[in-house]
Amino acid sequence: MHFQGKAHKFGSDVNTDYIISGKYKFKTLDMKELARHVMEDLDPDFYSKVTPGDFIVAGANFGCGSSREQAPLAIKYADVSAVLAKSFARIFYRNAINTGLPVVECDTDQIDPGDELVVDLAAGIITNKTKGTTIPVKPLPGVMIKILNDGGLAPHFRKFGGFNFD
């Protein structure tokens, strides 16, 4: 998987309430509608700033808080191609893989707002075209690579009828 776009930078401990507020997520299953409100409490104009393919780049503990799967889905439906962070909260991390949103653990201090990035997940390398540098990616656990390669947990279940990691 290979993505190109610019960086939208956030700090540490971006929780799922900030990604998509509870006041919206209980009302609808229309993820395109939820996507309009993504990151709203941190940056009210975020949705309109995203060009398809762009990246959310954050500090540590991205996605902490509630288990709402609307969080990775709202990011995905806002046309963000991947989230890059120093670390992720575990439920968000599972939910992102299960729903097919790539999550990339790396040293995000080397990325500034607006930097043009190329993320090559297969090679495990991020190229910062603005700075002319490369950043290594922490590999995903094998189980998660299998789920991501199947397109998420739902296609994995459709294929195998249950969990199959052999």
């Binding site: 401990d13 209980f26 609808t28 288990s67 575990r90 939910n95 299960n98 249950g162 969990f163």
Partner: protein, 418 residues
């Protein structure tokens, strides 16, 4: 090689000796979803080609987060849940029955050694019953509903040894807030926390739930305690089922341990907008509040309401403060009525809302206005959590919230225990 509590529970449910770092596919004893997560799980269930749930007696949906429904969008999703549960033949707890994390323990289906997944991050609450229970998302919930299994990376464990006794006016909420303040919001990410020591043993079963409930606020996958007679006495009120308690081996391997002297803990508050922004109440005292909330899966149990009524009884809520109370379940509500607790709270000026999540998650039941300050017994104070990003939320024990509701300012509850 010795095992921690979570390694033993995952071993028993996966049929292999599990140690930290292993990936296991484990059998689950119960699967739960609530109205913020179940609708997406129903969609995932269909996408997975699911037809039936793995065991109709081991699954439940709970309508608690926006209950009763505040608008037609929510109503449509509630209807979807009711129809799905009816069609598949498993239990749905409808509006007014309570918060999922009170209802599952009251169902008698969860006890020592159980493995539970719930599509709600505070599913870690049942760790207080010596169960491994953890929050998952909607797609994992759908996978669990279909297969009765879940994959896990076996976590390392961090031990919190809490010695001594909490002083008068200081509660389990204060203890867990202090622990979270020290270790920070991601200090236990991917880890299982074990809470031990005589201070934990001295707590009632209800008070223990408050600690396990907030393990997720330090990033933990689970927050476990050993079972004792109090645990089994509590369970016997709800079930005849027998459970075998699970203890860590003396030579179990831990990722770390922290020691606390409970006698030195003061009442604590978490200041806006982070759960780990914790200080002694004295440092926040005097801050004016406009709303106070007593309830939620953290502190909506009978003992919590009893403590609040002990302070509020015969007094009045400050005229500039709205006090909102929600019992954690219908049973708690009924017990609190029988004991006169609800009478005391209402006479003091409380607005009592439907048993459930109350205003905690910002959908209804008390959304604060711009510039207002709320003090709540809930577990999260993120900006916008209660539905308005221009409001501030402080977190504290039921005693501190009750004392603050009377005073109109954040107040030290120990004044009321003299």
């Amino acid at each position: 090689m010795g095992q921690t509590i979570i390694e033993k529970i995952l071993s028993a449910h996966s049929g292999q000796e599990a140690h930290a770092g292993d990936i296991v596919v484990a059998r689950v004893d119960y699967v739960m979803g609530q109205d913020g997560t179940a609708p997406l799980a129903i969609r995932a269930f269909d996408e997975m080609g699911g037809t039936a749930v793995f065991d109709r007696g081991k699954a439940a949906f709970v309508i608690d987060h926006s209950a009763p429904s505040p608008n037609e969008g929510v109503s449509a999703l509630h209807k979807l849940m009711r129809e799905f549960a009816k069609e598949k033949g498993f239990r749905l707890y409808d509006i007014g029955e309570g918060v999922c994390h009170q209802l599952l323990p009251e169902s008698g289906m969860v006890g020592p050694g159980s493995l539970v997944i719930g599509a709600d991050s505070h599913t870690c609450t049942y760790g207080a019953l010596n169960a491994f229970s953890t929050g998952v998302g909607s797609t994992d919930l759908a996978g669990g509903l279909i297969s009765g299994q879940m994959w896990f990376k076996v976590p390392e464990t961090i031990k919190f040894a809490c010695h001594g006794q909490l002083p008068k006016g200081v509660f389990s909420k204060d203890l867990i807030l202090r622990l979270i303040g020290d270790i920070t919001a991601d200090g236990a990410t991917y880890l299982s926390a074990e809470f031990t020591g005589e201070a934990v043993a001295a707590l009632s079963q209800e008070a223990r739930f408050t600690i396990a409930n907030m393990a997720i606020e330090m990033g933990a996958k689970a927050g476990l305690m050993e079972a004792d007679e109090k645990t089994f006495d509590w369970l016997r009120r709800f079930t005849d089922q027998s459970f075998n308690s699970v203890s860590a081996d003396p030579d179990a391997v831990y990722a770390g341990s922290r020691e606390y002297d409970a006698a030195r803990i003061e009442p604590q508050v978490a200041r806006p907008h982070r759960v780990d922004n914790v200080c002694p109440v004295s440092e926040a005292a005097g801050k004016s509040i406009q709303q106070a909330v007593i309830g939620t899966c953290t502190n909506g149990r009978l003992e919590d309401l009893r403590i609040a009524a002990g302070i509020l009884g015969g007094r009045k809520v400050h005229p500039d403060v709205r006090l909102i109370v929600a019992a954690a379940s219908r049973r708690v509500f009924l017990d609190a009525m029988a004991e006169g607790i609800i009478q005391s709270l209402v006479e003091a000026g409380a607005a009592v809302v439907t048993p459930g999540c109350g205003p905690c998650v910002g959908t209804h039941n008390g959304v604060p206005s711009d510039g207002e300050t709320v003090i709540s017994t809930a577990n999260r104070n993120f900006k916008g959590r209660m539905g308005n990003s221009n409001a501030e939320i402080y977190l504290a024990s039921p005693a501190t919230v009750a004392a603050s509701a009377i005073t109109g300012k954040i107040a030290d509850p120990r004044e009321f225990f003299k």
